[in-house]
Symmetry: C2
Subunit: 241 residues, 2 copies
């Protein structure tokens, strides 16, 4: 059995010294990788420099920074290997910086009433020659553009792989969390979604709901429990395929 | 002898899952701390979770995330302890997120021609109830406001301490780097500024210029050399004080 796991959080450059990062310790991804490694499953792990690293001699590491890196690495790996399952636990930035300008730049752009304001700001940013944005302004304006949704690529690349997606919300009612997870499951043709709420994650305590295609929900309360639950459910589905 | 070192890079929250981070491995701060620890100097080290940690039994750690945390911790420590020197090598974010809105929000705010656009955007952001910004928009606009300059606080708190500041630029001519460092030295009443250029930093290779109040410049070519140079110059100045 060969699987692909993504873990950690992406980081999107603003300039040569600043970036927008998605918080993720990589601890859950580590637990999942170690859980599969115990079964001698061959694992390709796409992760980041700062994420904690799992141990296991069947784990192959692929380090990335940004969402664009992730997309490239994922496509490369899914072109050369066939995966029985893809477990996409990485916290991927939904947006990437497109332009950074001063408030004065923004106001002068607005005064010209451009048809496409984001494009006008990109032009202003491109005219600037410094590689590090000057701190000589009271307000800085960073415009971000939407990143492609990485999870939606996976079933296009390998329709037969078992896809486990993740949905993290912050302090929402359980019913909302499950509904958002169900919508993500359907939209991305996932086999499972692990739904969790940042308000219910603290150290090893980690409350998660694993939802399958039949909308059955199983619960887990720690990172180790979540990792074991995902492994069991993926291996069960793999057997009956 | 007791000194205060800051090391690593700050991280400024955009929302509960995203932050703007300043790149800094903490490797130079680690080298500096270890260099002073060899001389049995007592060290308070303000650093971040992700920064590499120095070893030394005279080092006391103080972990922070944001520039606001840094300001609080630095003021607290400089109130209770007297430092012979403060070595401020942390990469501090010049800006912190003030509001995050969609492009549509920005455009509707502009249409109302507010006297204070940043304030109007703060009001819009405050009306939003979700704790994680929805990804359901093509462009996100993050407005950042200027942070207080931490380095300028140090000599106000302890005029007699020896202050070592850092200036990092990206791919500029050497003469510009030295001029910017000189300006920072005077503005912040620093005793030394370590000037360096990101284009000349790669792994252990790290080109730095240490400028003193008499504008004399000494050069170093690795992190270890920079750390030793700073230690020697600080201890020499401490002796004649």
């Amino acid at each position: 059995m060969r699987i692909l796991i993504t873990s950690g959080g992406t980081s999107e450059k603003i300039d040569d010294v600043r970036a927008i990062t998605n918080h993720s310790s990589g601890k859950l991804g580590k637990a999942i990788a170690e859980s599969f490694a115990k079964e001698d499953v061959v694992i390709d792990l796409i992760t980041t420099r700062n994420a904690v690293k799992p141990e296991g001699k069947t784990i192959h590491f692929h380090l990335i920074d940004s969402t664009a890196d992730l997309e490239r690495t994922l496509k490369d790996l899914m072109t050369v290997n066939t995966y029985d399952a893809v477990i996409h636990s990485m916290a991927v930035s939904d947006f990437t910086p497109e332009s950074s300008v001063t408030l004065e730049d923004l106001e002068s752009a607005i005064a010209k009433e451009p048809a496409d304001l984001p494009k006008a700001l990109v032009d202003i940013a491109n005219e600037r020659t410094e590689k590090k944005i000057s701190s000589d302004t009271d307000h800085l304006v960073v415009v971000l553009k939407k990143n492609p949704k990485i999870i939606s690529l996976i079933k296009n690349l390998q329709p037969k792989t078992i896809l486990v997606g993740f949905k993290l919300l912050v302090d929402v009612p359980m019913i909302e969390l499950l509904n958002v997870a169900k919508a993500s499951l359907e939209k991305n043709h996932a086999d499972f979604i692990l739904a969790n709420d940042l308000a219910e994650i603290r150290d090893e305590k980690h409350h998660g709901y694993l939802i399958n295609k039949q909308h059955k929900v199983k619960e887990a309360h720690t990172k180790t429990e979540i990792a074991e639950l995902i492994k069991e459910e993926v291996m069960k589905l793999e057997e009956v395929k």
